[in-house]
Symmetry: C2
């Protein structure tokens, strides 16, 4: 059974996809209402398709260009195989397909939710959350299926499906990195482009429609109104989905790379531990696969029974599903770690202070389980922190409301301060997580923490996608002039959706941050450097440059929204002028033109940020080569850049997301009325106008530049990972070229000669502590490693013999 | 002569101070005008004194507390002597005294400038710039005198004024670090507290006076008006002065520490090179001393002749003075480097790529000169960049103006974007500067680049302080109802002052950034670690924490302004109600109460940011000790923290300063009228109101939180430097305790045994290249160093013998 376990995650992913398909059919079978509802919904659906079509066109060009660059890398670097291009293209296709499924189901579920809400709140929740579930399972299922499928393929192609040595596994994983890169590239388009799209359409529709023409929001006479509604789906559904798809794949990949590194630390061969000797590599995939099934269980728990339920009950239903799935992941991590990792203990390298203090230490496998718990805790706590700083009725939002009474300026200052202050708890949490998960199980622990957190991705996305579906459902109810109780029901769902949107953003940042750290660690192992020393001036300089890029990226994304919105304004003005009878409702607005303009503008505007994201790491890697810099120094410089981008990017993501979220809810607070200086204040007051100004500033913060940071930091680290073999000393000297590797016999460490073994034993009662220093002569290079062992006399003796 | 050269910088500083005193007398002898002018000026002067008095009270408490902490450090750490407390106290006193001189002269020069402007613009410039010169020379003179004076004292106290070894010089310099720490602590109060003060008074005065009572700005009936005018001086004169005082001292100190390190790299004794063997340590002091004289020359060149001159002429006069002094510094650096550094070549350690690639290399002394040029170029370019992003009529400001037409929200977004985008050029400049100056002469080169840039501090401050003096002079002219031509003349000066204020902020950031880098490098040498490896998880975690602190610090500073302003509002309201006849001009407002409230609120509000600044490095250094962490690992963690604070702090400083500056000038653009959508738009328009909102947000950005970043990053690195010996492995094991050091004989490397010398020579024509690897056994520890030499056969032979 253990030999075929490699297929298990893929099978679980397929089960998830089958369930997704069943659920999808169920949702689509639901009543989609009558004439006007159907018509509006059809427009949104068509608009979404128009966006996808335009996106795919640009994507194709991009994928061709990127494939050529990858071909160049594969040509020059022996450990990078041409198959990386295939992996890359499929990574892009899988992610795009997942986005396609999500967009379609979301834009089809909205009207069905409206229709259900005419009679029953529980049913409306059931349908809208069902749509979210389809989206979540589509993303998670395709991510796991694609990654594990390609792993199985490459494992058989390069290694005949049997363990040979870590060098060949490195080639498998480096090629697999292409899949992750492809997925994250789509995320760049979906998250950054989508972020620009949604706000450009929003602002454009408001400026001409509400301000100039004086027609209400979501009025079907406004040609940009469909683009606006499509935008909600593009940003919150497709953007978020592609973001998490990328995180999911990258996290598991990084954990696999670090798992391979552990096998190397344990002597290069652990086939005696079962699982074909690749247990530590399989574990993250297994967790991801099991996570899909757990997410399905979680989604089944989300239901309410009473038609007169309020926000609290709906929120509780979602919380139960969420917490149960997190709990189940924790339990299954316990069993999976126990089952798949070496039985007693694992040996891995730890930094133990001092200048060169890298020491091999034998740790209990259980500590990897503790690391996964760290990840699950981070996921939970970051959502709570985000909720505190952006939640309705919480102190920070109330403070912004109070500051609105003295005008827009004080509102802005309060919002900015809130976003900035919110970095305190979030960053301390991340820092503690890095520290703790590393202390438990090294960087493998950090990657497994991320993997465990990402295991519930399907559930997280279901909760997340449910929000915009409910939002759209409310809009359709309003536009179709349905009775007010329908709107009241969708409003309950929408209100809960706003909360989950904020916490979902927190989860997305946390996942991006942990993913980047795992990729960062994988990068170091790929390049073969010992560390990244920021006391080297060029490395320090790159740390500065890396820190700057997220700031400039954010600025570009923000001003893109303005530019794209202006294009939209011009098009709407043109239609109002040129289409006869448009204001009377007899002429039909050309919705698709607005959608196309918004799409093209968004995709065009995201080019410069995209070029910066992709260009900087490439310039840093190749420019110094022209000046004759040492490859290992360049690897450190690129690592410094990656660290700068990650630290600064995470900070700016938290700052912008939370400031934007807080401004948004400060504005919303006025809808129910707020007490300012002892007076109830409502919509339309001066204070409310100030709050609207704050919200307008916050819109691109929280929906464009803030979430884009996730992509920036992950993509930066992924590009680093793909470039790594070029810089890594090991590729040129230590690893035989491709053909040799493919044809070589699976005997490890052929050239290795043990020169010296030094054993210091310290007996303590029954237990023995031994410090073993082994000097190996591998391929003419001397390598000294120190191992610490604990256990009974025989155990320690056995371990020492295993090493030799 | 060379033996007494150690006194030269101190003598030059005294000459500067004498000139300062002469200039001061000249300014004070000028006509201070008639009744009303005198009265208003007297109020501002008294307000300034009130601020100083309150500040000194709090300072005394702080200095006592900090001294006790230093006593504890001195008790536990053998290389930290009790005299560090004396140095600390004097550092604080010198900086406070410099601030005192500056505040007094600025508040006395303003009215004399007004009086001069009644008849002559050249004379008004002469007097206002004279006041600035007094301020600049006071700061620079006291900084250099204090630092060099204490160096002479400690050099004689610990080493009897003669070279012994680098270990003892380390004790001298570690004790001297107290002076720098004292100076920077005052800067914390002056810059952060001052920043809160000036904006609290400004906003408070406006809110009650202009909005509630409907009286104009600068009306003497407003009790907060004096606090407002005092605030200009507190922020722009005292704050900036203390900031640059701190940078000046810290830069020179860091360069001295790195100079000592070079002596160690060269074998620990270079007395045969003259200058008592401390040439590389003296050089930065000499540059600082000569810089004072050069600044005097520069100030003498600032004059105009025509009474009908315009802004351009005044600006040109300032530019000539500035550029000539920068040029003279470059020339004198050439001669000083040539004179004071080892004649042919110096040996220093460079990182040369690869994992452990630290290599001793022999470089020409001239390369240190090239590094100083890098510093001078950075100082010039950063001012130009700042001017581009914040200057009136430049593209970024015009774009904010255009965006004001669609409301406050778009104005805010445009301003934020401008600040964010401006980090691109600035950070690339810094990165290039780090890279280049390191490539020329290692971290000694980085520190010397900073020293050269700071050499013109007196001139920079003269230009900088002239702005608020002219601003005040205009205010006095307005309040005293002088003829309009007076105001026109002061307006010309004021307008130029606005430009110099922006570029001055750029200079201050650049100085803070380079100073921090130099301190960072000095920190690493003090702790004895080889580098800071961010691949170690705890170090990476601290990099994150460090990156977060500037953001949270900024948020606290910003919201402090709001709180302090509210206190001011309450006091003004109380006075309006309780003082009879105040609105009719018969009752006298209690200006001093407003000043006191603003002062106390400011000093109280800066406590939390202050605690964060000082507390974090201390917690990071001592908390892990309780958990048994290795000292060297802690040293790396603290280094990671310092790097995080510096990178993030520099970014946020640039972002906030430039956004604030751009908003300010966008608002000012409306005064002369701007063309928006083909229409001339003026003050009072909706667009102008939007611009006012932006300016209000920008005020705390550019005057409170932005400039505070300078202090945060420098103080963080200084605290690290003072803590360094506690963490440094060398202090406990390698260096004898204090008494032994003081009494030991000045023979270096007593325990050193050369074990192995390996020489590889490569002859190339007449020149010989040799690679020498020496294995020394120092105090039982084996140290391997590799040296590269170039030259004729004999030269190389001589160098190799010198090493042995």
């Amino acid at each position: 059974m253990e030999a075929t376990i490699i297929y298990m995650p893929a099978v679980l992913a397929i089960i998830g996809l089958i369930y997704m398909w069943v659920k999808r059919s169920w949702v689509l079978k639901q009543d989609s209402g009558d004439g006007k509802m159907k018509e509006i919904s059809a427009h949104i659906y068509e608009g979404a398709l128009a966006f996808l079509k335009a996106e795919y066109k640009l994507l194709t060009i991009f994928v061709i260009g990127a494939s050529m660059s990858l071909a160049a890398i594969a040509y020059f670097v022996p450990t990078t195989h041409y198959l990386i291009i295939v992996a890359f293209i499929f990574g892009a296709i899988f992610s795009a397909f997942a986005g396609n499924i999500g967009m379609k189901i979301a834009t089809q579920t909205n009207v069905r939710t409206t229709q259900a809400a005419r009679t029953s709140l529980p049913k409306a929740l059931n349908i809208s959350f069902g749509g979210g579930t389809v989206m979540g399972l589509g993303v998670a299922g395709l991510a796991v299926l694609g990654l594990t499928g390609f792993f199985i393929f490459f494992f058989h192609y390069f290694m005949n499906g049997e363990w040979t040595n870590t060098g060949q596994m490195t080639i498998v994983l480096e090629t697999l990195a292409g899949f992750s890169l492809g997925a994250e590239s789509i995320a760049l388009f979906a998250r950054v482009g989508g972020g620009i799209y949604t706000k450009a359409a929003d602002v454009g529709a408001d400026l001409v429609g509400k301000v100039e023409a004086g027609i209400p929001e979501d009025d079907p006479r406004n040609p940009a109104t469909i683009a606006d509604n499509v935008g909600d789906n593009v940003g919150d559904v497709a953007g978020m989905g592609a973001d998490l798809f990328g995180s999911y794949v990258a996290t598991v990949l990084a954990a696999m790379v670090l798992g391979n590194y552990i096998i190397e630390d344990m002597g290069g061969d652990i086939t005696n531990e079962g699982f074909g000797g690749i247990g530590p590599i399989l574990l993250p995939m297994a967790i991801a696969g099991v996570g899909i099934i757990i997410s399905i269980i979680g989604t089944l728990l989300v239901k309410i029974s009473s038609n007169s339920a309020k926000e609290a009950e709906v929120q509780r239903a979602l919380n139960i599903g969420n917490w149960v799935s997190i709990l189940l992941v924790a339990v299954s991590c316990y069993f999976l770690v126990n089952w798949m990792l070496p039985a007693d203990s694992m040996t891995m390298g730890f930094f133990v202070g001092g200048a060169e203090g890298f020491e091999m230490t034998s740790i209990s496998s259980m500590r990897v389980f503790y690391a996964t718990l760290v990840g699950l805790i981070v996921g939970g706590v970051i959502s709570a922190v985000t909720e505190h700083y952006t939640g309705l009725g919480k102190k920070p939002v109330m403070s912004i409301v109070q500051n609105s009474s003295t005008g827009a300026a004080t509102n802005i200052i309060a919002g900015l301060s809130t976003g900035m202050i919110s970095t305190f708890a979030s960053i301390l949490l991340f820092a503690a997580a890095i520290w703790a998960s590393y202390a438990f199980a090294g960087f493998y622990g950090v990657a497994l923490a991320a993997s465990a957190m990402m295991a519930t991705t399907a559930m997280q996305l279901a909760i997340d996608a449910f929000g915009p579906i409910a939002d759209n459902a409310g809009g359709i109810a309003e536009m179709s002039e349905l009775p007010s109780e329908v709107r009241e029901r969708t409003d309950i769902l929408d209100s809960v959706g706003n909360t989950t949107a904020a916490t979902g953003k927190g989860f997305a940042i946390a996942s991006a941050a942990l993913t980047s750290l795992a990729l960062f660690a994988a990068y170091v192992t790929f390049t073969g450097i010992d560390g990244i020393n920021i006391f080297k001036a060029p490395v320090l300089a790159m740390l500065f440059v890396g820190g700057m890029v997220p700031v400039v990226f954010s600025a570009l994304a923000m001003s893109s929204v303005g530019k794209a919105a202006m294009q939209m304004v011009r098009e709407v003005r043109r239609q109002f002028k040129e289409i006869p009878g448009i204001m009377e409702g007899t002429g039909k607005p050309e919705y698709d033109k607005c959608v196309a303009i918004s799409t093209e503008a968004a995709l065009k505007e995201m080019l410069l940020p995209g070029v910066i994201t992709i260009g900087f790491p490439i310039v840093i890697a190749f420019l110094p080569m022209l000046f004759g810099y040492d490859n290992l120094l360049i690897a450190e410089m690129l690592g410094g850049y990656m660290a700068g981008v990650t630290v600064s990017g995470v900070l700016w993501a938290i700052f912008q997301n939370n400031a934007g979220g807080a401004w948004d809810n400060a504005k919303k607070s006025f809808e129910a009325g707020v007490m300012i200086n002892g007076e109830m204040t409502y919509k339309g007051s001066d204070a409310h106008k100030a709050a609207v100004t704050g919200d307008t500033v916050g819109d691109p913060f929280k929906d464009t530049s803030g979430p884009s940071m996730n992509i920036l930091i992950k993509l930066t680290c992924l590009i680093g990972l793909v470039i790594a073999p070029i810089l890594g000393g090991h590729t040129v000297d230590d690893v035989p070229n491709q053909d040799q590797v493919i044809n070589s016999s699976p005997i490890n460490n052929q050239q290795e000669v043990i020169k010296d073994v030094k054993i210091e034993k310290f007996a303590e009662g029954d237990a023995v502590t031994a410090k073993v220093t082994i000097t190996r002569n591998t391929n003419g290079e001397e390598v000294v490693k120190t191992y610490n062992f604990e256990g009974t006399e025989e155990e320690v003796q056995q371990k020492i013999e295993d090493l030799q």
